[in-house]
């Protein structure tokens, strides 16, 4: 503490801090910008490859000849994955640089609202698109395609279990995201 605390000048004290880091040169900034662009491109490439691998998993369903419902379901799921990838890309690129033209209050509130909306609407852009394709796959499997060497009863039981697991996974994803949206809403309300 200073000898006489009543003479403490917080502004002077704050501004008296010693410098800790060397200043960045323009060349270093240019290099960092290039690295940043490379990172963004690499991140996008990984997302696209992961998406392509996921889509490949449904190609057999499209190519099989037993059930046209399963073919349609597989095709719809591939389309849904393209849509989800586009949504992820759109939402990620929206936050790359904070808008300097925004005031701090607007930016902070905007960031929280953007995050809240993204996870609150996860049902619309992440879950709903895969539901029609998944439903067609299951219906096609139930009525038009049966596993060889298995009784119809056992086969239907397995399909029901698969459907139940899929519904539960989607429900948990939705619930976790709604909880997150509620937490963000409380922080927005507190602003």
């Amino acid at each position: 503490m200073p000898a006489d605390p009543s003479k403490l000048d917080p502004q002077k004290l704050w501004q008296s801090q010693p410098k800790e880091f060397d200043p960045m040169t323009l060349a270093a900034i240019h290099e960092k910008a290039r690295t940043f662009q490379t990172k963004v491109r690499r991140r996008n490439a990984i997302e696209y490859v992961a998406g392509a691998v996921g889509m490949l998993a449904f190609v057999p369903a499209v190519l099989q000849r037993d059930s046209w419902l399963m073919q349609a379901g597989g095709a719809l799921i591939i389309l849904a994955m393209v849509f989800i990838l586009w949504q992820l890309h759109r939402r990620a690129s929206a936050r790359t640089v904070p808008e300097a033209s925004q005031s701090l209050a607007d930016f902070h509130r905007g960031e929280l609202i953007r995050q809240r909306d993204a996870i609150r609407s996860v049902g619309a852009w992440y879950i709903a698109p895969v539901v029609p394709g998944m439903a067609l796959l299951l219906i096609g499997r139930w009525f038009q395609s049966h596993a060889p060497g298995r009784s119809i009863g056992i086969d239907h039981l397995i399909i029901l279990l698969g459907a139940l697991i899929a519904v539960l996974v989607l429900l948990v994803i939705w619930l976790v995201n709604q909880r997150g949206a509620e937490r963000l809403q409380r922080r927005i309300d507190a602003l």
Partner: protein, 182 residues
């Protein structure tokens, strides 16, 4: 946004001018938002990169100083929000912090005098939620209430009220108990 190959001399010149004028300010600002030294350097570099990129679309609608503060605080706020998402941390408002204990208790390693007072002030700033922290940092940098209001998007009256509360908290923390309080 364009990459480094689409830079303009104007963008580079504005950035260099800003770093000369606000380099030390940006470093102090990063200290207000990040206690860990390694992460602070990352944050500072992130701020510099965002600033350089932002000057590609500087439109002169506000002063360069306001622009620099907005970019820097917005990057730092994103940093805090991202860190809180990964590691939940309780941050408080100026109103709440007045009723709480001192976030920086006396540290025997810290030398007596201004250095200890600075450590306590920094801890106080770092414990604040982003909206209040932005105002406090800008005040500590010596900006007037009207200028702070322009950067933050608040009325000068609202800023003045916050500054009044900050002064009260500082008075409570640093003046009560005299030199032995820390």
């Amino acid at each position: 946004m364009g990459g480094a190959n689409r830079t303009t001399a104007d963008q580079d010149e504005r950035y260099q001018r800003a770093t000369v004028s606000f380099g030390a300010t940006l470093e102090r600002l990063s200290r207000a938002y990040e206690a860990d030294a390694d992460q602070r350097l990352d944050l500072l570099q992130e701020i510099h990169l965002a600033l350089w990129r932002s000057f590609a679309r500087y439109d002169g609608r506000c002063s360069e100083r306001t622009w620099v503060f907005r970019v820097a605080h917005n990057v730092a706020t994103s940093h805090v929000l991202e860190r809180r998402r990964r590691r939940p941390q309780t941050l408080t408002s100026l109103d709440e912090i007045a009723a709480l204990g001192d976030p920086a208790q006396a540290d025997p390693e810290v030398e007596a005098g201004d250095r200890q007072a600075l450590a306590r002030l920094t801890a106080l700033v770092q414990a604040l939620a982003p909206p209040d922290r932005q105002i406090v940092v800008l005040y500590l940098e010596g900006l007037e209430a009207a200028a702070i209001g322009e950067v933050c998007g608040l009325s000068p009256g609202a800023v003045a009220t916050k500054i009044h509360r900050l002064k009260a908290v500082i008075a409570q923390r640093f003046h009560q108990g005299g030199p032995d309080a820390g």
